[in-house]
């Protein structure tokens, strides 16, 4: 547990009045509020610190305690403990409210104030639950078709439909599957980020697929057929005679499915890479020489 200078967190002087504190809190909150900084963990952390500082400094009783014992909070804890024991012995003590999640408060805050301030307990404010973030790793071929998966998030199984054509880095939001709301507030959302790795021979750019295939020299010269494997099965290609090296052909609608547009597909681009035969036999050399003479 390290000492936290709440004045420093809010960027104010120790002599700041309530108005200054409120103003500083509002200014900082506008900068780091999670709604204004989506998917920014640092901003979220900072916002929690700001809230914690505001919880303490905007409450005169807490501020007094913090100002008095702040730097020597360990002694404050001992002092408070001794005081609590005295109170417990002399009179029946009221039970503390434990209905709030204290996860968002630092150890330092909890050790001094035991979670949220008494004032905020009384206010009975509802808070929306925390948003959860999860990453789902898939292979490119997995997202060629719409399919269902069961994910375990915080010990809970969630059956999820993964639409075909989802992109690497894309985030989908599942409403109401985040953390529980505080004091009856709504649940947060679950954000799933897709991390799609590709170990196939195809490269993907948006909905189009690209591949380079080897083409036999004689087929390139005389024309013929080649068969390639795609995510959707085998495709037969007609190679035109006298096809040049690095010729690109487009197979319309043979690319990747378009996200949430059933029946729509991108295109597949095939680049022919002509393979020159090696280890020629004497007869082959002789025939090629004959051929060269004809040009």
């Amino acid at each position: 547990m390290t000492y936290i200078d709440y004045y420093k967190v809010l960027g104010i002087d120790k002599k700041a009045n309530d108005k200054d504190i409120k103003k500083a809190y509002r200014k900082m909150a506008r900068k780091y509020h999670p709604d204004l900084n989506p998917d920014d963990k640092e901003a979220e952390k900072k916002f929690k610190e700001i809230n914690e500082a505001n919880e303490v400094l905007s409450n005169p009783e807490n501020r007094k305690k913090y100002d008095k014992y702040g730097k020597d909070w360990k002694h404050a804890e001992e002092f408070e403990k001794a005081q609590q024991q005295q109170q417990y012995q002399s009179s029946s003590r009221r039970g503390g409210s434990a209905q709030y999640s204290e996860q968002d408060f630092s150890d330092f805050f909890s050790s001094m104030f035991g979670g949220r301030s008494a004032e905020s307990r009384g206010r009975n404010v509802q808070f929306r639950g925390q948003d959860y973030n999860a990453e789902l790793q898939l292979e490119l071929k997995d997202v060629y078709r719409t399919h269902k998966r069961t994910l375990t998030v915080n010990g809970k199984n969630i059956r999820l439909t993964i639409p075909a054509g989802v992109k690497n880095g894309q985030v989908i939001k599942i409403k109401g599957h985040g953390g529980e709301g505080i004091n009856g507030g709504p649940r947060g959302d679950l954000h799933i980020k897709f991390s799609i790795s590709n170990h196939s021979k195809f490269k993907r750019d948006k909905d189009n697929l690209y591949a380079t295939i080897d083409l036999d020299l004689y087929k390139a010269l005389l024309g013929g057929e080649v068969v390639i494997d795609t995510f959707d099965g085998k495709v037969k290609l007609n190679v035109k005679p006298e096809t040049k090296n690095l010729t690109k052909v487009k197979l319309k609608g043979k690319g990747f499915p378009v996200y949430k547009k059933e029946g729509h597909f991108g295109d597949l681009y095939i680049t022919y890479q002509i393979k020159i035969p090696t280890n020629l036999s004497d007869k082959e050399k002789e025939l090629i020489k004959e051929l060269a003479k004809l040009r």
């Binding site: 506008r30 992109k167 709504p186 948006k206």
Partner: protein
Amino acid sequence: MKRKDFIPIVQLCEHYSVEISFFDELHEEGLISITTLEQTSYLHQDKISDVEKMIRIHQELNINTEGIDAVFNLLNKIDSLQNELNTLHNRLRLYENDF
């Protein structure tokens, strides 16, 4: 148009502890679209998450509706830049392991 997809504004005001005038202002700013059926104002349920965000920004950050409009415009811009960045990042992957 199915009525069950719409939520009465008064019900939302009660639930989120906001004045009805706040919804009128959001409507005037073009941030939400209010549908009136038999003299009752409704909001489509698909807009609830956006409205919740607007209410949080208003209540927790003390930002007025004009400010919310600016915030939403900037958030949309961030979102489209993020998508563009993601597309470019994916395109870059095409050249990372050249084939």
